[in-house]
């Protein structure tokens, strides 16, 4: 077996493991759903009335932001899952086996992709229930989902790098969330950025999360897309390209 084929096969075995786990740890899936549902309810019914979104109903404005936030927060689950494996020692066993080094992380990030896809689909239905009315064509909406999945994948790798740099599961949990709050809130996900002070707006308008939100929002709502799709592709592929070798190197060196 050549090295790439072996890496693919081993990643597939780890993916199989992760997918078997999924229904057996229902709390992970339930938590992954409760959080975005809470956000939808809070913003739709509590804050939404006070937020002006010219030209769009607030719920239409909100839901693409929720989708993007959901996949971004998936990074925390990726990190915690890996940290748990490290703590339990199963990673030691994997590392003592003649398996591809990348497989443990690739299998996990791909399985997180599957989980995030399921969660986003459920959130789409939740959105419809609270009044979300996407106007984009089917093709545009499919493209929006693909961009969300790419974002999910890139963010999972960030979560993995965080997990591999921390010593305890608790640290991974805290460190995993901390950077996500400013990133997702100082963005166009929940409010238009033009109400923010100038310095913050400069950050919010140009940071990658806003770019993802703007791309998927334009695709779902049939708005002018501009360069956002290309920028999203560039950002997410760029993040993945940096994180994958970083994570693989850390995995190899971990405990060495």
């Amino acid at each position: 077996m050549t090295a790439p084929v072996k890496a693919l096969r081993d990643s597939g075995i780890i993916l199989w493991r992760q997918l078997i786990q999924l229904p057996r740890i229902p709390e992970v899936l339930i938590f992954a759903l409760i959080q975005p549902v809470m956000f939808v309810l809070l913003f739709r019914y509590v804050f939404g009335g006070a937020i002006a979104t010219p030209g769009e109903s607030y719920v239409n404005y909100l839901m693409p932001g929720i989708f993007a936030q959901t996949v971004a927060f998936g990074a925390v689950a990726s990190g915690i899952g890996l940290a748990e494996d490290l703590r339990r020692g199963i990673i030691d066993r994997f590392r003592s086996l003649p398996m591809a080094r990348s497989a443990v992380i690739v299998g996990r990030t791909v399985s997180d992709l599957v989980r995030n896809f399921a969660v986003v689909m459920v959130m789409y239905v939740v959105g419809i229930l609270v009044g979300f009315r996407p106007e984009g064509s089917v093709g545009a909406q499919v493209l929006a989902f693909l961009l969300l999945l790419l974002t999910s994948f890139a963010f999972s790798w960030i979560g993995v790098v965080i997990a591999l740099s921390m010593k305890t599961v608790e640290a991974v949990q805290s460190a995993g969330f901390i950077w996500l709050f400013p990133l997702t809130f100082a963005s166009s996900a929940f409010v238009p950025t033009d109400t923010m002070p100038g310095w913050l707006q400069a950050f919010a308008d140009n940071q990658p999360f806003t770019i993802v939100v703007n791309a998927v929002r334009a695709l779902f709502l049939d708005l002018p897309v501009g360069n956002y799709v290309w920028l999203t592709l560039a950002w997410m592929i760029g993040i993945t390209a940096v994180m994958v070798p970083l994570a693989t190197r850390q995995y190899r060196r971990r405990s060495g």
């Binding site: 057996r24 740890i25 030691d92 003592s96 086996l97 003649p98 398996m99 010593k167």
Partner: protein, 343 residues
């Protein structure tokens, strides 16, 4: 894989050193393990046992020194080494959400077996390790002993010629420990070379043909269990007679059950010898002495604890927390504190 050019020894290590921060976990460890034997690494918490295993299992690079497994260098040929070894340990590192069978299939496939062969092997291992009834339940619900057996079975998925068992019975209740000992003894018949670490002298004594006592990252004594016990001097059967004239007769009785030389201490009117099956020897010797009508002051068995071995070898008692963060780099919490050992 140079399978058909067998190296003379299953494991060889020379001058292994490894430091974690200021802690010198390994301070020049030499080991030679002959093929097909169970070799015991005996020492207290934090002595460096697990670090030795982690270096040999390619999980950790030594700072200096060399080691080979089946003739393959653990640093240079790490990839090849991994096809020759199995690793099982105190952390029972199986996936708790997967069933026993799923775990074995997964580890088998990751060891290079095809899906079909991994499944067949899993069925065999479940049978061999008495896990058939629990095979299709998630291992989360297993008892500690069952989990250890599954952990051991997982390390055997690809029939590795060299097996590392890192404290296989630490934390187990006495009954599960006995079961585990039986399982490990069974492996030897397959010709597997086993490197076993333990805090329990009794365990090393029971399972290993040779033992290295390790302390503060160094091997401080090495030999067969009988040799080590002779050095410690405590283990064995001791008879104290009332009349010194009986010493000769008692010596003959004890010699019939001794596993080694019989010592006579005329001044204190005592006969002492190492015995392999203590309880049985004690009963037999006591019976024979009574039959011969000899009056004794005391007939007893003296089993040295690890503390006594340590005291004898190092001149200081075992302390629990010296170098407590040894081996903690990956697992976070090092070796859990255990009791002094079964007596």
């Amino acid at each position: 894989m140079p399978v058909d050019t067998p190296a003379p020894h299953a494991i060889e290590a020379h001058g292994l050193r490894k430091a974690f921060g200021k802690t010198q976990a390994l301070d020049g460890v030499d080991l030679t393990v002959t093929r097909g034997m169970v070799y015991g690494l005996l020492g207290p918490n934090g002595a460096g046992k697990s670090t030795v295993v982690r270096v040999l299992a390619t999980l950790l690079r030594p700072d200096s020194g060399t080691a080979t497994v089946d003739g393959l260098d653990v640093v240079r040929d790490a990839k090849a080494v991994r096809t020759h070894i199995g690793l099982a340990g105190q952390y029972a590192a199986v996936d708790e959400y997967l069933t026993g069978r799923e775990n074995l299939v997964m580890f088998g496939m990751l060891s290079g077996l095809t899906r079909g062969r991994a499944k067949a092997r899993a069925t065999d291992l479940l049978e061999q390790f008495d896990l058939v009834d629990a095979a299709d339940r998630p291992s989360k619900g297993y008892s500690g002993g069952m989990r250890r057996r599954l952990d051991l079975a997982a390390s055997l998925a690809s029939r590795p010629p060299v097996l590392f068992l890192d404290e296989p019975t630490t934390g187990l209740d006495p009954r599960s420990r006995l079961t585990m000992w039986g399982v490990i003894q069974g492996l030897v018949h397959d010709g597997t070379t086993v490197l076993l670490t333990t805090q329990y002298l009794e365990e090393a004594d029971r399972l290993a043909q040779r033992i290295a006592v390790i302390d503060r990252g160094r091997v401080i004594a090495e030999g067969t269990p009988a040799e080590l016990k002779a050095r410690v001097g405590g283990e064995g059967l001791e008879v104290a007679v009332v009349d010194p004239a009986d010493l000769g007769a008692v010596r003959a009785i004890v010699a019939a059950h001794a596993s080694d030389e019989v010592f006579v201490d005329a001044e204190r009117r005592r006969v002492r010898a190492a015995v392999s099956d203590g309880a049985r020897a004690l009963a037999a010797v006591a019976g024979a002495i009574a039959e011969a009508g000899i009056t004794t002051e005391d007939v007893g068995l003296h089993r040295p604890t690890l503390d006594e071995v340590f005291l004898a070898l190092t001149g200081r008692p075992v302390t629990e927390d010296e170098a407590s963060d040894d081996d903690g780099a990956a697992s976070g919490d090092g070796e859990p504190g255990g009791p002094g050992g079964p007596t």
